[in-house]
Symmetry: C2
């Protein structure tokens, strides 16, 4: 097949190199052999590549800047090296019959460890201790172990599922929340999104790990954040717009919530001088929770070939996005 690989115009550390491709082809077996591949990183190379390409591999950032899509008469599928494609919504630009695929699965191991770290940081009162360190204040605050404590995880895909496994392994009681409440092996119980309100008052820890869609935007609004127990903690590795940042800030300042660990924000980068930088008991990481530079591109390409294998076998590609649903 004719494949075009479009990288970001600016270096991100997550480009697909010819070396990445060569090694993925070597791992991929028959389905990976014999393709004709072009690489590019400018608008002109994308335009030229799409005139011939049957498959496009690109990042959300590289694609978002080039929409609407240049003419792509032979295109059958777009594979994005991201899991959350919300920046590409609404998907009206997607030509009919072209499949949109993400790289869900790539992020699980890293996201699971980040979520475990964030839970341990909340249990150890690190947000308050980092606020004290910033102020040069010795303030012994003792935390307890995670065993037996309650975490609610919204979203049980690759990210939330991996987090649930780590939490359960340390003896936490895990409540999962997802659109349809199918059981999950690491969760003591799973409830439907519609029942979120009922579980929040018992959620000492809340982890947001779901995609941003029209159904989840603003999910944790001021009212729902207020349902969390006093002294609770919030982690967000999904998308910033899942929660009301201003309301969260108010609850942290009031001491109603004990801490938060946020990796994603409504506006990224966070503007200089923004209130977020100095809120008490808030730890900020700059959208790095789910991307492991050592494995990101190799795993993405392995997932790409796994999807090609499904298509060749006449099966639905496992990473196909439903543009209506948004994930």
């Amino acid at each position: 097949m004719r494949i075009h690989i479009q990288n970001d115009a600016v270096a991100t550390g997550f480009e697909i190199s010819t070396d990445h491709w060569r090694r993925a082809v070597a791992r991929g077996g028959a389905i990976a052999a014999g393709h004709e591949v072009s690489f590019g990183a400018t608008a002109a190379t994308l335009e030229a590549g799409l005139l011939e390409a049957e498959l496009l591999i690109t990042s959300v950032a590289a694609l978002a800047g080039q929409l609407p899509l240049p003419p792509a008469p032979r295109l059958r599928a777009i594979f994005c090296t991201s899991a959350g494609l919300d920046r590409l919504a609404p998907f009206t630009w997607l030509p009919p019959g072209v499949a949109l695929l993400n790289n869900a699965g790539t992020h699980s191991a890293k996201a699971g460890e980040y979520a475990l770290m964030a839970l341990l940081m909340l249990a150890n009162r690190l947000p308050a201790l980092m606020t004290a360190q910033r102020a040069g204040r010795w303030e012994p605050l003792h935390g307890s172990v995670l065993a037996g404590r309650q975490v609610t995880i919204v979203g049980l895909g690759g990210l939330g599922g991996a987090a649930a496994e780590h939490a359960a392994r340390l003896g936490m009681r895990v409540t999962g929340v997802r659109a349809r409440p199918a059981p999950h092996p690491a969760c003591a119980r799973v409830v439907a999104s519609a029942d979120l309100d009922a579980v929040l008052p018992q959620s000492e820890f809340l982890l947001l790990a779901c995609p941003l869609t029209h159904a989840t935007r603003g999910l944790m609004d001021r009212r729902r954040l207020g349902l969390l127990p006093r002294g609770g903690g919030v982690i967000n590795i999904g998308r910033g717009a899942l929660l009301d940042q201003a309301a969260l800030g108010d609850l942290l300042e009031a001491g109603q919530l004990a801490g938060a660990v946020l990796d994603v924000f409504a506006e990224e980068p966070i503007p200089p001088g923004d209130r977020l930088w100095t809120l008490p008991n808030l730890m900020i990481t700059p959208h790095v929770s789910c991307d492991d530079p050592n494995s990101y591109i190799p795993e993405s390409l392995d997932i790409f070939f796994a999807n090609l294998r499904a298509i060749a076998a006449g099966a639905p590609p496992p990473n196909r996005i439903d543009p209506e649903r948004g994930y």
Copy 2:
């Protein structure tokens, strides 16, 4: 037996209450029944209690301020609700024939989780990210998962052993270091303290979890810290005097080491204005890594009764300290 329980004169949140005692007695079975117990928190109550007591239960802080020990004609054993008794050394004040016991074991679960958190924080580059947050700087630094990476743990007692188990469970390659290099189930290898120099250059992460004794004071001096690989990270949950803080600071400032997570310090509290407060890529917690307020006193008292049980059976009490060795 006649038991005196001496608490700290100032509230620490780790006092032994009559309620703690009653519940521990209920859990403890025959060995815990029928003792005559006095409680106190002043010099006068200690003096009065020791005139009659056969057993003294106290904290290191409460005891350190009262040395040399008031007359204690009937005393057979002192049980300290701490694992590290270095503040009581040298042990010349200990009356001949009086056994000194610590509460080793109490700290394992909490210390293991703290160590796991600290390893995850180093892997996720949190020390640098917290430095960036303090400066209001959005600086995406990506970290990798722990699997396959090398951690060296100095000390394989309750603290280091629990840390080794967590690290191994995430797929890390664990090298243990201890006085006599007996194997440990969670360690790929264990080397003798004398061979520490040989393993430091491969130690991406170094965790200090050993007691402070004349043999370990200054163990990680400037020369040994310099043997760690560029980009390495250091965690200390043992005692501050195990490492040369000034040398560590220099290596962090030079960017030779990527980060450090320290819970213990040569001087505690860290004085206001000390360089430690503002060193880049250093995360400080105020000596809270190993103490879980929910379980600390109950577990200590269970360990106390386990030692009484051993003594009653004519066996050596498992928590007896060797004053020569210091732990």
